[in-house]
Amino acid sequence: MAARAEDIATPNIDELFRPTHDERARQSFVSMLRKHAIIDLRAAVRRHYESEVAPALRARGAEPATWRDIERVMEPDPLHRLYSTLRYNAQEMCYLSVQPAIERALPEMIDLARDLATHNPAGGTLRLNPQFEIPRYLHALDVHLAPGWVTAEHTEDDVAQGAVVGFGGKVFTGQHPYRKRPGVVAESIAHWIQRTRPGFTPRRILDLGTTAGKNLLPYKSAFPQSEAHGIDCGAPVLRYGHALAEHEGIAVHFSQQNAERTDFPDGHFDLIVSSFFLHEIPLKATRNVLRECHRLLSPGGLMVHMELPDASSVSEYDNFFWNWDTHNNNEPFYTNYREQDPLRLCEEAGFLPADAFKLTIPDAASFGEERYARFLKGELPAPPHGSGGWFIFGAERRG
């Protein structure tokens, strides 16, 4: 505890982001614009489909059978077009609205991150690989319409994309009822593990595609005795994440690695997690990542991925809704990923079918303990993914 005073004095890289009055106003408005598209218009489009479009087609004996049929019917629909254009533009504006303030802060941010990477006041580490080969699927296009995504480096020791993805993400989730708090996914999974596996105390935790570690830090609070590792392909996000964790006084070991093949020894981790990750990479890479998880897990270890619900877990209409991102949010592997059965993917990676699971768990921050107890008894389902619940899958590694 002697290091505590020093921890408090560690500057916060996030505080170097100082938008002007009007930039802040723009960011707040874009959050609301995004909410209008993803919550209000999404619901309006669904109501319109269910109460008008589908019944009219049904009356002619031509009701859409698959999500692709629904997509074909809905693409020319004026309401769906309005929803799509608002969603797309709001998505772009999340990042555009934070870039000017980041450009002004960048020299100071880089200096601070560099200083913290040298001194590591909280005891974490940052391990970058100058020879690292960024996989083509990561730099061929900008995922989530974020220019530069997680890997682009604009100058030496750059942290800009860490800030762009981080602050853009805050605008993105600013008015979302279940995503306002950073790290809610990790909190929810950690809570679920603690409630379903009392006594599980991982010695080492690994977060794959960690970006700046937003959904890694809460695991350290849940399992304080553990050693936390986060890997990503993007150096700027890792530098930024390291600076943030050092400020928080949380020792995290960040390293630049491809999750398809890491340099950690066999059986090194008791808990391997990821969130919003596997649907962004090609299926072949997903298979490699899951095999790598199997290699890295210790006997009795646990793997939990928060992911989009697979196609067979939701309705055809929901598949139509989810797959919008494939072409419209620069997530080309999204549909193909969702068509896989996660349990089958686990089995292919070497896990025993009986040890694999997929389910939707409640959002820990909003569900309430009394209802959680009923969820655990099977009396109450979790809300749908993204609307108060989170879809997860994974496996335990036996013996």
């Binding site: 002007t20 009055h21 009007d22 106003a25 723009r26 707040s28 408005f29 609301m32 614009l33 909410k35 209008h36 209000d40 309006a44 319109h48 008008e52 479009v53 019944p55 009219a56 087609l57 031509a62 074909r72 019917v73 020319p76 629909d77 004026p78 309401l79 769906h80 309005l82 799509s84 254009t85 608002l86 797309y88 533009n89 772009e92 504006m93 870039q99 980041i102 450009e103 960048l106 020299p107 100071e108 880089i110 200096d111 560099r114 730099h139 296009l141 900008d142 319409l145 220019p147 530069g148 682009a152 604009h154 100058t155 030496e156 020791d157 750059d158 800009a160 762009v164 072409h327 620069n330």
Partner: protein, 110 residues
């Protein structure tokens, strides 16, 4: 050691194919203008709101006072409610749109 960059301009456009949602791509471009302009009006409105709040508090209105204005939670709640209502007013859908789209001939065209 300290070799901070003098100036970095971040890319403002995205690598990857931009989708076209409307029959005429000019409408996609026009929608971007409309949405950006809607946003600018909201920004301007918020600046005016800040000025009014400074006046209410008897604080001399200077650019510095506007920049350093820190809204209380209640002000943010009020502003969020305004933004929400404003958006719903501006992006008002024509009631006839539903009737048009439920036309099966139109709906099943590629």
């Amino acid at each position: 050691m300290s070799k901070a960059p003098t100036e970095v301009t971040l890319p403002r456009t995205t690598r990857g194919k931009r989708p076209v949602f409307f029959d005429d791509p000019s409408i996609d471009q026009m929608m971007t203008f409309v949405i950006e302009l809607t946003t600018e009006v909201a920004v301007l409105r918020e600046r005016l709101d800040t000025v009014e709040r400074l006046l209410d508090a008897g604080v001399p209105v200077t650019r510095e006072a506007i920049e350093s204005f820190q809204p209380q939670a209640a002000v943010n709640t009020e502003r969020d409610a305004w933004r929400d209502a404003y958006l719903k007013r501006v992006f008002r859908m024509h009631p006839t749109a539903s009737a048009q789209t439920s036309d099966p001939e139109r709906g099943s065209s590629p």
